[in-house]
Symmetry: C2
Subunit: 167 residues, 2 copies
Amino acid sequence: MPEERHDPGAAALGGRLRRLSDRIDREAKTLYEAYDTPFEQRWLPTFNALRGGDALSVQDLADRLGVSHVSVSVTRTALEKAGLIQSAPDGKDGRRRVLTLTDQGKALSQQLAPLFDALNEAAIALNAEAGDAIATLARLEAALDRESLSQRVTAILQAGETEKDQD
Amino acid sequence: MPEERHDPGAAALGGRLRRLSDRIDREAKTLYEAYDTPFEQRWLPTFNALRGGDALSVQDLADRLGVSHVSVSVTRTALEKAGLIQSAPDGKDGRRRVLTLTDQGKALSQQLAPLFDALNEAAIALNAEAGDAIATLARLEAALDRESLSQRVTAILQAGETEKDQD
DNA sequence: GACATATCTGTAACCGATTACATAAATAGC
DNA sequence: GCTATTTATGTAATCGGTTACAGATATGTC
């Protein structure tokens, strides 16, 4: 493990999270390559959500996946280009388009189902070995929801000012 | 919390790690802005390592920080351009350059020291509130070191094939 | 009906990492 | 000394997110 003890912790934590994320994404990518499918890691959450059969909009997916609509929009473009999904205007709301899997997408969904199941199992095992990483991340997110990093640091800095004034 | 239950877990985990990382980076960035210094989040690990006073090379820093030499190289360029560090040829090895803080860098280091300390304290608090996120991340990294995601998924897929053959 | 505000989607630019590759220098082996 | 291999650094492209902004459409208020 590299030496990070003296790093301002928030940066070290952020970097560590990113590198772990990158690592998982890279390793997942090698699996799609082994399956001989030009599947991209960023497609997975959107593709998987549409596998359920519902027609969903970009914003629906963004809400459901917890990412920005931009992230979903870019993914939609790529999935459509790959022929895996199609989009059609929403009958009721001219702003919206609804996305569904194409026949090709459904075929790929079936082909990759074992891989997706295995990814899930592997994640469950990893989560357990790490000591419930998912719960820990949820608590970290909740802690930041309660009081953002900026607020915490500002409070600490102000406490330091107050201590100085009182000395 | 967005609905991720049905997502192939490894992608969900990777995405979650990334979004948390992005969030921490963004929030840290607002703090530098509040300090009225054009400091960039990606500079921090390298800048902080050089604050110790040692002259270090790109590769030294990469090893120490656990990132690729490219990441450090790009950061070195930016820090040098900002006038915060300087680089000089290593007397003994023509391939290497050694990096040190400039006077301006030292001055900024002193100016931002309270902010860096506060970031550290905030990280310690967040880590505790999350239930030792750092230890959990370390176990997750160690689990992946022992057996990569690819290996785990491949093993699961092969077990599934074996079960099918035996049925 | 007109206007202001909100929502949906798409594009551009950015962020902090990576891999691939190229060039220069050092090292090892003969 | 020569050659092959390794190491150090830098550049380009890529990845998977983000914010900012623009245009189109829907909604709410008067």
